[in-house]
């Protein structure tokens, strides 16, 4: 267990989560979420869960991101909160 | 307490329930042929009466018909038992149903009522439920038929489908369903206390250790449950409202099925669930006595100021039902005898009065007491019967009412509670005060009626017959079905032969 590394990751994750939820532009929020997913995947790997990290990277960084982008292009990019 | 009474298994109690239920599909199927349809009604009535009567001989030899259909909820069977009280009630209901059926046919045809098929079908269901109530061997079976009766009466109450009738139906349902709910609560509680729900003369809860608080709460719950149909004040107010129904329905409600089931329930609860000992020990009888006397007095005054004939009769019913409750509350053998006799006799008298009111309505379209001037000249038979019924309810011989009242008074004295004798006498005077003016108007005043002659024979014959029956029973109470003997038997079973 590399706790220093984990601590850094955790802090960034929390900040990213808050940013993704508060930013007005949904596209930015989606990108933030992608980064968040990717970082969490790295965190899984750091914690020893290689398979889960791999899956999360593929899914969270890839497919969900694409889906969200498609979603936003089909609907609207703005959000009031 | 079951002094030398033996039981035997018999299908008859179930058949009495099923016979009118079986008539329902026949009635519905023959909806397009009125004569056939009404034939079924009458046939079922005759068959039912015959079945009930067939129970009599063995009952008088202390043999009780029972039938157990298996458990309905664990620990409680769906069971029938034709004990003396049950047969007594069944006899009243089935014999008067026959009268009511004939009369109904005349009534609905006379008014060309709509939806006659529905009317007769629910009528039959009601009677089935009443038989079930009479013959139920335990509280669960009793509740099942009690609730069926509630639901089956609803379409009859709203039969006219006017705004008023629907409102009356709502009120009726609100009261009776609430009562059913209380009854279920009381029954489940009893079940947990006693472990079974079988009616036992002398009380199924007799040997259970009780706290006074528990006994009072349970008894109050029961009384709320059965008291609504028995129209004990202040639970009575559905009854006058339900007068919006057609007159035969009122007759059914007031004389045969519904309210009598209520007081029957009071008897069952008071003497077969709690039992005289328990009532005395916790002074539960005061609850019965006080509510009954108050009801008698107040209802009589309300009847006095009511102008609508049927509503006046309704309040009179409320008062007279409480006679029966009073008889139960006095806890003495003669009072119980009086109670049971009043159960039967009030039925014959009140049904006569309602039949008369219906005949007047069908024939002359008059509903108010103040409009009845001179009716006696147009419809002498009808008003004669009405006079007979009134005299009986006031409590004068030779009509049967005097006998039951006399027994009740005797019971009050025997129980060393003369206060209630005074109440009975006072109530008799009040009865006279609200019935005799009607007779006076009908016979001794001149009025414009617009029509001559009696109503149709189908209506007049039953009402005259019931009036004659009332007189005959007053003179010879053991006539035909041996009402007196059976009532006596009930008292013997409960109070152990002391009478």
């Amino acid at each position: 267990m590399h706790w220093e590394l984990e601590l850094v990751f955790f802090s960034i994750l929390i900040i990213l989560a808050l940013v993704a939820l508060t930013v007005r532009n949904l596209l930015t929020a989606v990108v933030m979420l992608n980064v968040f997913s990717f970082l969490s995947a790295l965190l899984y790997v750091v914690m020893g869960a290689v398979d889960v990290g791999f899956t999360e990277a593929v899914v969270g960084g890839g497919i969900t991101g694409v889906f969200l982008v498609v979603l936003i292009f089909k609907t609207t990019r703005r959000s009031v909160d | 307490m079951m002094v030398n009474a033996t039981t035997y298994t018999s299908l008859v109690p179930l058949l009495t329930v099923l016979v009118s239920l079986g008539a329902v599909p026949l009635i519905i199927l023959s909806s397009r042929r009125p004569n056939l349809r009404e034939f079924w009604t009458i046939a079922a009535g005759v068959a039912k009466l015959a079945l009930v009567v067939s129970l009599l001989p063995s009952l008088l030899r202390h043999r009780i018909a029972v039938l157990n259909l298996g458990e309905i909820v664990p620990g409680v069977d769906l069971a029938f038992k034709a004990d003396a009280l049950g047969v007594f009630f069944a006899l009243i209901a089935s014999s008067l149903w026959l009268f009511t059926s004939f009369y109904s046919i005349g009534y609905v045809r006379g008014l060309q009522e709509h939806k006659q098929t529905r009317y007769f079908a629910y009528f039959a269901v009601c009677l089935s439920a009443t038989m079930g109530i009479a013959f139920s061997a335990n509280l669960a079976t009793f509740i099942i038929f009690y609730e069926i009766l509630t639901i089956a009466t609803y379409p009859l109450v709203i039969h006219k489908e006017t705004e008023e009738a629907i409102k009356a139906g709502r009120k009726y349902l609100a009261y009776t369903l609430t009562a059913g709910v209380f009854l279920i609560a009381a029954a489940t509680w009893t079940y947990l206390l006693a472990g079974h729900l079988d009616f036992i003369p002398g009380g199924l809860l007799k040997n259970i250790p009780f706290e006074p608080k528990t006994a009072w709460s349970l008894f109050t719950l029961f009384l709320l449950g059965v008291g609504v149909k028995a129209a004990i004040m202040p639970l009575h107010s559905w009854l006058p409202t339900a007068m919006a129904a057609p007159t035969p329905v009122s007759a059914l409600l007031h004389a045969v099925a519904v309210v009598k089931s209520g007081v029957f329930g009071v008897i069952r609860v008071g003497l077969f669930v709690f039992g005289p000992e328990l009532l005395r020990r916790f002074h539960l009888d005061y609850l019965l006595l006080t509510s009954a006397s108050l009801t008698i007095i107040i209802a009589s005054f309300l009847a006095l100021k009511e102008d609508n004939l049927k509503r006046r009769l309704a309040y009179s019913t409320v008062a007279h039902l409480s006679y029966i409750v009073l008889g139960v509350g006095l806890i003495s053998s003669p009072a119980l005898l009086g109670s049971l006799l009043h159960l039967a006799f009030h039925a014959t008298m009140k049904i006569t009065l309602f039949f008369c009111a219906g005949a007047i309505y069908v024939h002359l379209h008059k509903e108010k007491v103040s409009e009845l001037d001179g009716v006696g000249h147009v419809m002498p038979w009808t008003m004669g019967a009405f006079a007979v019924g009134s005299i009986g309810l006031v409590g004068l011989p030779p009509v049967n009412g005097w006998l039951s009242k006399w027994c009740l008074g005797w019971g009050a004295v025997a129980a060393a509670r003369p206060l209630y004798l005074i109440i009975l006498i006072l109530s008799g005077l009040l009865n006279a005060a609200y019935f005799f003016p009607i007779i006076y108007r009908a016979f001794f005043r001149q009025g414009e009626t617009g029509k001559t002659g009696e109503a149709s024979l189908l209506m007049v014959v039953p009402l005259v017959l019931t009036a004659i029956l009332s007189i005959l029973l007053g003179v010879w109470p053991d006539l035909g079905f041996k009402f007196f003997k059976i009532a006596h038997e009930v008292g013997r079973v409960i109070f152990g032969g002391v009478s």
Binding site: F54, G62, I63, V66, K74 | -
Partner: protein
């Protein structure tokens, strides 16, 4: 998406990259026994390669590689392979999904190994087809209302 014109450079790069992703996905599926990865990851990668082509070539052109009509049947088929493996074990006398009863190899551990492989293939196929199907459906221009 939308009516974006096909950028030739994007198309070219997508066309070049896509097969490699597909190959990598297949590798991940078949190498799931020995290293991190398996049916789901591989299937997702294959779906990604197909979606990349669809993103680069709009309209019908993107469908040439992998027509949308195949999505649902292939997805069902993938799950059916998984289910069928379990059912086969049931058929040959074992419990559902008990690969030890599959008539594939002598040693029980190898039977299980082969069973796992079959299952992973089913998973990969299903995941690929269904993810592409979700993508297609999300991109669908008008629904039925």
């Amino acid at each position: 998406m939308k009516e974006a014109e096909n950028n030739p450079i994007v198309s070219l790069i997508a066309s070049i990259v896509s097969p490699f992703i597909m190959l990598f996905g297949l590798y991940v599926i078949f190498h799931g026994h020995y290293s991190p990865g398996g049916g789901f990851q591989g299937g997702t990668l294959m779906a990604a390669s197909i979606i990349l082509i669809r993103l680069a070539h709009s309209g019908q052109t993107g469908q040439l590689q992998f027509p949308a009509t195949l999505n649902t049947p292939l997805g069902s088929l993938g799950v059916l392979i998984y289910y069928g493996t379990g059912l086969a074990a049931l058929w040959w006398g074992g419990q559902f999904l008990n690969y030890a009863y599959l008539p594939l190899a002598q040693a029980i551990s190898w039977r299980r190994s082969w069973g796992i492989l079959m299952v992973e293939i089913g998973v990969g196929l299903a995941v690929m087809a269904i993810l592409v199907s979700i993508f297609d459906d999300l991109l669908e221009d008008n629904s039925y209302d």
